[in-house]
């Protein structure tokens, strides 16, 4: 009897939490603040890790990423044509591509059926994400066009270039006819990006690329895996901030009107929502929940 009551309580908690998260996801200022908070936390974590203050948390994050990837594996995602894809397979595809990249460096391009199957899944995920972006664009009043295209056209400095190369990977992936073509450009893109990152001071290195590199506290994640757009959210925390900021910038008239006299521009809106989020993490319920998981002494 007690077990049934506990299960019911858990379900109630899950339903409540899902409602809250879905509401945040459906609200543009909250969505942008979430992306900003995500990127801000990871950037701070990166600074702390460099100074070794956050070393244990870094180790825990790697562990958590494995759990998250494992937890998400098997969740079917509906693709462009209603096909089912699997994020776990995409992560595997990334690993396979890394193998191809390594082989390519040695002058050998590995071609095998198993990889072709994995890459097909990666393509489906990329398509699925493009669809999600299209939907986002249509859902915002006055912005009927795909926000990714609009975002790329917008002169916000070198961020555009980073977005473009990021987007090009997805575009070419979708149009690639064979797994070999797909593998070839992913390898080329991966190697080019890696060189660009390694160069550090490369003149062509774009600001956003620097930002993305800086906010990824664990640069040992293979570049080729980062290139798989569908898996990027798990690899580079905060990538959502680019489309989110773009969209909020274009909807600022609506939100400035909403906050007139209190908040002036997009940055204020984002910071205001971030403050509310910080209040949530300080709540007694969050404190009690955290206490259920005692931390290692050095965390």
């Amino acid at each position: 009897m007690e077990k049934i009551a506990q299960e019911e309580e858990l379900r109630r908690h899950i339903e409540e939490a899902m409602k809250h998260v879905a509401a945040r996801e459906g609200d543009l200022p909250n969505q942008t603040a979430d992306a900003a908070g995500e990127v801000g936390l990871v950037r701070e974590l990166w600074s702390a890790t460099k100074e070794r203050r956050g070393k244990m948390l870094g180790a825990l994050w790697k562990d958590a990423k494995a759990v998250i990837a494992g937890g998400l594996a098997g969740i079917p995602l509906v693709g462009e044509a209603g096909t089912l894809a699997n994020l776990g397979k995409v992560v595997k595809a990334g690993k396979d591509v890394v193998g191809v990249e390594k082989a390519a460096r040695g002058g050998v391009l590995v071609r095998n059926v198993a990889m072709a199957e994995s890459l097909k899944d990666a393509t489906k995920i990329i398509r699925q994400r493009k669809e999600a972006w299209k939907t986002l664009g249509k859902s915002v009043m006055g912005v009927p066009e795909n926000p990714v295209n609009r975002f790329l056209k917008h002169p916000i400095g070198s961020v555009v270039e980073a977005g473009k190369s990021y987007y090009d990977v997805g575009k070419k992936a979708v149009t690639a006819k064979t797994a070999d073509e797909l593998a070839a450009f992913v390898v080329a893109r991966g190697v080019a990006a890696k060189k660009s990152i390694d160069a550090g001071k490369n003149i062509g290195l774009v600001v956003a690329h620097k930002v993305l590199r800086e906010i990824d506290p664990f640069p040992d994640v293979p570049t080729a895996l980062v290139s798989i757009a569908g898996a990027a959210d798990l690899v580079i925390p905060g990538v959502n901030i680019l489309p989110a900021l773009w969209q909020l910038g274009h909807s600022s008239a609506q939100y400035t009107k909403e906050y007139v006299g209190m908040l002036g521009d997009v940055k204020d809106v984002v910071m205001g929502r971030l403050n509310k989020k910080l209040t949530g993490i300080k709540s007694p319920e969050a404190a009690r929940s955290a206490a259920a998981f005692p931390l290692p002494a050095s965390a």
Binding site: V42, G71, I281
Partner: protein, 87 residues
């Protein structure tokens, strides 16, 4: 407190998990193994503690990133109109 219930609260309040990942994970909490609950819960508890310890740093990082990216402004002819414009 039941660990899965605690995990739900921590997922909901996490900074580092994107919302779409939160929703997917919440849908999977019931089926997570005790080991995974412990690993994920420990990470999210550490994340919370980190945010509390580094609140100023997190705020400053967000402000700096927003400044660095610069908020995109609508191009001329690309204005978004709300309502009819009439009182």
């Amino acid at each position: 407190m039941d660990k899965k219930v605690a995990l739900v609260t921590l997922i909901e309040n996490s900074f580092v998990l994107p919302n779409e990942v939160k929703l997917e994970l919440l849908g999977r909490v019931e089926g997570l193994s005790d080991t995974d609950v412990e690993k994920l819960g420990t990470f999210l508890a550490a994340e919370r503690q980190f945010v509390l310890d580094h609140e100023k740093g997190v705020r400053d990082s967000v402000a700096e990133i927003l400044q660095m990216l610069d908020t995109p402004k609508p191009e001329p002819g690309d204005a978004v109109y709300v309502g009819t414009g009439r009182p």
